[in-house]
């Protein structure tokens, strides 16, 4: 295995059907119209020297190395900026060109340190390569002229250095920051010879830089270089794998020296990211080797006892025995498990199989319960399956983009960059969010409408949208008539006066005129696409809202083609996959109900065990049953329910009631602190399998190194099952995928071989779509006809009171991930060392709170303390925080309210009071010894 270096074709591919044939050094090559001479040459196998060009950026034409001669044209045009023309004859190597190129390199090298042998980019430097390619043999100017050699290095970013003395001013970093990432943090300062790359006049860390790494990747020299490369040296081999952070599912080349990971480089052929990355996936992988990580199994009789390190066999035997003991004492249904959206499809599949076949019940649920379970319900009701309708690329064809309850620039940054690119091209943006997220106004992006709704009133807003569409004659009648059912009843419902923008204004706080304008734009602005996040699902009417958006898309015909759709932005790397794999108590893989005899029979035939036809317990049911004593043992695969689930007090009470809590994780997380068995998990660098991202894309996760624990997680589940008397044997994970494919119609065509061949596929992948399905519901809905379902707005029970006058809503921040177990163990803490409470200046002032003050945050279920950030991003009456740090314990205050259909917690609406605090509450002071102690009222 060697280092993968993608062939850089110099300029981006051009769309379009028409082709042009040209001759490059006598070789004919046919390329799409608009293709640069440089790219055409590269495609014909001739790489023209270049420095400022790279195929991820638009041609710039600054280095002047790529000059060519074209028959019949005067001069020596730059091949990067010259498009091909029919019959063009290009010469890339002539004595004149050689002399010019040497002249250019002579100028570059006259202002460059001559430390190649000790330079961190030695062997991976395009300047070095080009000096060789053009045959530079002397620098006649000498090295005593004016130069930049004494410029200082900016080491402020924790992950990369900016060694300004090595900069060749090609602007690739500046362009990458703008064109790819869309942040525009970098610029060129000064002009002429004084031109310098600058992060806006300050160091990188204090600039607007979001540390996505695009500049580092674009840099052709050592100027922008990963610190890990400086420290460790050049990697020698690559493994293409998939990021384990958010649901975007970026492909990366893990670059190693031996078994040591040097850097993660986004992979150009990755379908989800196409060579882009964010600060988490690109840099924050150090947690995998963090000293906190536990690599050996541990057991203890009681959580008061010390952990006892044991070997795998002991741990597995102990776990199996304990599980059986509980079942013998309390019944077959007294145990269950939770699968993880962080692990591979194969690992999830074996855990749910272990539960259904070895535990002999359906008490399996997954952490999607607390994030996107309403997506599953809502989209299944209306469209027929639980999945986003589009691929990410589709956003490039959208004319109107609606972002509801999502903050993509923080939570799905790589997709946000695609979206911002389209917005810069002129697509219109509607943001529905109480908070002024960055997308509302950021460089070259501005929302046409920002509907600042009251938290908890999503359904009223979406109904008002639909009301405008129906009553103003904006319905796509043909689409509805041909493709949908239930329209008449729904239209009658939605046209009622109580759903009009004027009627809902007093509930939602969204001015009727603005809502009407936004609705008209959505219905008439061309291709309209909805992207949504947990601001939609984590409500008491989360499922209703998903249905409401689906109704709206169907009514306007915005389903079934490029540029439209209803798209959940999934939170975790494999939340789509864990749902697909049959992690819900009522569904087998592929979203088929356990009550369906025919489906169950296929599983029983392969598994050789009966599958119960009744759904098992959901996570909140498990907690309730634990407290009432009927549920006594829980297997938790890679999820920190103690920190991430709402109403911490209630969760702790449940966990304390268990006889056996088994946790499989990388770290002793908040949940593991209450466990009896700890099974060390593997990081994504050790895993072998697949993740499925938010666009249903199944990506390979390839092992970069052997499991540090000595055992794959899927092997652990198999061995527990076997120790419980049910043999589950697989030689390797591809055999697990083969079983999934055999039992799941939407996965029928999926195999590791196919994934290795195609890179990735989007399900459904079967005989009808052997290479997968980028866009769903093209010719018809999965359920046949799209189904309109009336969505009556029912206000949440959680509302502000005199005692708790503010509404708390929670979310995420770019540098941190979920409960922070990983990102807190990386240098990402430099950006977000603690959770902050964002509060409007007015709400702060009346409470005497200044920016940076410690404040108490209390709801009817709990209280915590954190630092206030006074911010006019918040509307009056609403406060916001993140839940990345256990010390904050944001979920101490969130309540047990949940979605009516799926029990997805209502994280986004909690009535709270905020007050100035001078001392931390006892909970947090005691945090070092024990996790969040539950407060007494």
């Amino acid at each position: 295995m060697s280092l993968i270096k993608e062939h850089d074709l110099g300029t981006p591919a051009q769309p379009g059907e028409a082709t042009i044939t040209v001759e490059v050094d006598g070789h004919p090559v046919t390329v799409p119209e608009g293709t640069s001479v440089m790219r055409a040459a590269a495609l014909s196998g001739i790489d023209i020297p270049k420095l400022c060009a790279t195929d991820s950026l638009e041609a710039f034409g600054s280095c002047r190395l790529c000059l060519v001669e074209i028959d019949g044209r005067k001069g020596t045009p730059a091949s990067c900026t010259t498009p091909v023309a029919p019959g063009m004859k290009v010469r890339t190597q002539t004595p004149r060109l050689e002399k010019l190129r040497q002249g250019v390199m002579e100028l570059y090298i006259s202002d460059h340190p001559l430390d190649c042998l000790t330079c961190s980019a030695n062997g991976d430097c395009e300047l070095q390569d080009m000096s060789g390619v053009v045959g530079l043999r002397q620098v006649r100017y000498g090295y005593e002229g004016e130069n930049h050699l004494d410029l200082l290095t900016d080491e402020s970013n924790p992950y990369f250095n900016f060694e300004a003395s090595k900069c060749i001013a090609c602007s690739r970093c500046v362009r990458a920051c703008g064109e790819i990432q869309g942040t525009f943090a970098l610029t060129i300062e000064g002009r002429g010879f004084e031109s310098k790359v600058s992060a806006g006049g300050v160091d990188f860390m204090n600039s607007e830089c979001v540390s996505c790494g695009a500049c580092v990747q674009a840099c052709p020299t050592a100027t922008l270089q990963e610190k890990s490369v400086v420290d460790l040296g050049m990697p020698t081999r690559s493994v293409v794998t998939t990021c384990a952070y958010c649901g975007v599912g970026c492909s990366f080349k893990a670059e190693l020296r031996g078994d040591e990971l040097v850097r993660m480089v986004p992979y150009k052929d990755g379908g989800a990211n196409e060579g882009h990355s964010c600060v988490k996936g690109r840099f924050a992988f150090g947690y995998a080797t963090h000293p906190d990580r536990k690599l050996e199994p541990m057991i203890r009789e009681s959580i008061q006892d010390e952990w006892q390190v044991v070997d795998w066999e002991t741990a597995i035997t102990y776990t199996a025995r304990k599980l059986r003991e509980v079942q013998e004492k309390y019944g077959q249904g007294s145990i269950g498990g939770i699968t993880s959206s962080r692990t591979t499809n194969e690992e999830v599949y074996v855990v749910q199989k272990m539960i259904r076949a070895a535990f002999g019940n359906n008490n399996v649920d997954t952490c999607a319960r607390v994030c996107h379970s309403p997506t599953g319900y809502g989209l299944k009701q209306t469209f027929g399956t639980s999945a986003g309708t589009q691929d990410f690329k589709s956003v490039a064809a959208a004319d109107v983009i609606v972002v509801i309850g999502a903050n993509p620039t923080d939570a799905h940054p790589v997709f946000a960059s695609r979206m911002k690119k389209r917005l810069r091209e002129g697509a219109k943006l509607i943001v529905v969010d109480p908070r002024r997220i960055d997308l509302v106004r950021s460089p070259h992006v501005e929302a046409q409408h920002h509907l600042k709704l009251q938290p908890g009133t999503n359904v009223a807003v979406v109904n008002a949208f639909a009301h405008v569409v129906v009553t103003e004659g904006l319905v796509a009648d043909d689409f509805v008539a041909e493709r949908c059912e239930g329209y008449e009843d729904w239209a009658e419902f939605i046209a009622r006066p109580e759903n009009s923008p004027e009627a809902t204004e007093s509930i939602t706080g969204v001015p009727a005129a603005e809502l009407r304008a936004a609705a008209r734009l959505y219905a008439t602005g061309g291709n309209a696409a909805i992207y949504y996040g947990l601001g939609v699902t984590e409500h008491s009417q989360g499922s209703t809202m998903v249905i409401g958006m689906a109704n709206l898309a169907m009514a306007t015909g915005n389903i079934g083609r490029d540029g439209v759709g209803v798209n959940p932005l999934r939170g975790q790397n494999n939340v789509q996959g864990s749902c697909d794999m049959g992690s819900f108590p009522h569904e087998l893989s592929g979203y088929r109900h356990v009550a369906d005899d025919a489906v169950r029979e296929t599983f029983e035939a392969v598994w050789g065990r009966p599958v119960l036809p009744e759904p098992g317990l959901r996570i909140p049911n498990m907690f309730d049953a634990a407290i009432d004593g009927s549920f006594k043992a829980l297997f938790v695969q890679g999820e920190d329910i103690a920190q991430s689930d709402p109403n911490t007090k209630h969760v702790f009470a449940a966990l304390e009631s268990l006889d056996l809590l088994v946790v499989q994780d990388l770290f002793i997380n908040e949940t593991a602190k209450m466990a009896h068995v700890f099974l060390p998990g593997t990081s994504f660098l050790e895993k072998d399998g697949t993740f499925t991202n938010a666009e249903r894309r199944i990506n390979r996760v390839r092992p970069v190194m052997a499991p540090k624990t000595g055992k794959h997680e899927w092997q652990v589940a198999c061995e527990i099952a076997e120790a419980m008397g049910y043999p589950m044997k697989y030689g390797n994970p591809s055999e697990i995928m083969d079983e999934i494919a055999a039992l799941t119609p939407t996965f029928a065509g999926v195999s590791f071989d196919k994934l290795d061949k195609l890179g990735s596929v989007q399900w459904p992948c079967n005989d009808n779509a052997p290479e997968g399905t980028p866009i769903m519901h093209v010719d018809g809905f999965v359920r046949g006809k799209g189904h309109f379902v009336p969505t009556t707005f029912v206000p949440t029970d959680e509302r502000s009171t005199r005692k708790y006058p503010l509404i708390l809503t929670t979310g995420r921040i770019l540098s941190q991930y979920n409960v922070g177990a990983q990102t807190r163990r990386t240098a990402n803490v430099a950006w977000h060392p603690e959770d902050l409470l964002e509060i409007h200046p007015h709400d702060a002032e009346v409470r005497g709170i200044n920016d940076g003050d410690m404040v108490s945050l209390a709801s009817r279920v709990g209280e915590t303390t954190l630092r206030a950030m006074v911010s006019d991003r918040m509307p009056v009456g609403v406060v916001y925080t993140t839940f990345h740090h256990p010390i904050t314990g944001a979920n101490v205050v969130t309540t047990e309210n949940s979605d009516w259909a799926t029990n997805c917690p209502e994280y986004k609406v909690t009535a709270v009071q905020v007050g100035l605090k001078t001392q931390a509450v006892p909970t947090q002071e005691a945090h070092e010894e024990r996790p969040i102690t539950v407060l007494t009222d």
Binding site: G61, V104, I188
Partner: protein, 515 residues
Amino acid sequence: MTVYVPRDSAACSVGADEVAAAFEASGAGVRVVRNGSRGMLWLEPLVEVVTDAGRIGYGPVTPADVPSILDGTNQELSLGLVEELPWMAAQNRLCFKRVGVTDPLSADDYLSHGGMEGLRKAITLAPADVVAQVTESGLRGRGGAGFPAGIKWKTVLDTPGELKFVCCNADEGDSGTFADRMLIEGDPFCLIEGMTIAAYATGATEGYIYLRSEYPDAGRTLKQAIEIAYARGWLGQNILGSGHTFDLFVRMGAGAYICGEETSMLDSLEGKRGMVRAKPPIPAITGLFGKPTVVNNVLTLASVPAILADGAEAYAALGMERSRGTQVFQLAGNIARGGVFETAFGMSLAELVNDFGGGTRSGRPVRAVQVGGPLGAYLPADRLDLPLDYEAFAAANAMLGHGGIVVFDDTVDMAAMARFAMEFCAEESCGKCTPCRVGSVRGVETIDKIVAGQDTDTNLALLNDLCELMTDGSLCAMGGLTPNPVLSALKHFPDDFTPRTALPIAAVSHQEKTS
């Protein structure tokens, strides 16, 4: 009694405002009109007194001369009828027809001197026919490149687009040039009319004038003129009942020479750092904010009203070969009579410099003339027989550029001038392309080494290689043309490059803004 005192900033810089004030204060019966400059800068402040015979000129006038001019006793400064002065009589003023004649901000004056005839004619024609008139006139871009204006307009007309722009390049940064400023200060309606015709012809609805920040007076005049034009219905909606809409805005530059390069100017107009764009795409197709855009120089656009009013044939009848019509030349540097001289192409450079310009101001022999700004070639005294014609100049490795002519006497050090060309490029380079950004700095250093006698032959060869690289390899004309003054100095004045101890650098380093 009506007295004309120029408001042109060149005249004001030598006291025109004080002279005007003196006339105003002189008592009843004197009406002072502030006109543009006639372009005879050595006579400024040039006062004209209206008589039955015509406008009698006096200059240069100081406030002390006012009483004697008013009572008709001043013979010393009297020039006779201005129109009959040889300098004026020898010109063929189309662009500058009204400059110095009218009150620049009087719309009525403008109309009574032939203003708006071009636009009125244009709107009776189909846009394509207006473009055809401009094409047939042979008008070429006066900014320096000399590209046929009609072809550019046709490209914009033929490129579909809901939004198109007309941008006027008034970032007049070349050394020894000031015609754009004098036209804007002296006859702003002419530019507005020219731009409006361009807009009508190409389907553009918005226009921008990019004016260099060093021209605050011109900026004020232009903005007032635009306001007046709106009030008259010459701008805005339904211009002169044509149904065409055209809105016009002024944008001030920020002191960068490179923003006179059209693509840098577009970047700057977009609010970005002024950086050269690679072409293609050309601005006519992908211009301001990515829309089809006419980019023309002030003088190009100011030539258009006359072309439409008098017909393409009349314009094309002037000039020689492929250089048709008139060019506004600007005489500057070490010259006895500096100023603006508009004439049909074809006159020789010698005639212009020696006969009209009167040779050097110092009285010493002319040694070199630089035509076309800081990137123009140096012509030695024995090559001044060149006709003023784009192609004739090109054949002599020189260029007409924007018509700036800077004269040097025999004390000039041409190695220092060559060095200055590189230094100017280093100072003004946008920094995008390598040959210009790094090459210009190395050029200065290499010339220093040559003059210091350090490896002279090697460094001369290196300088030649560098000039070849900058010519062939630079992204835009800034780096591409910088070798012109360097190589012409080397070719025509090789003796100046022989070793010596030090260059009198201080003597030349501030000569760039001779205008």
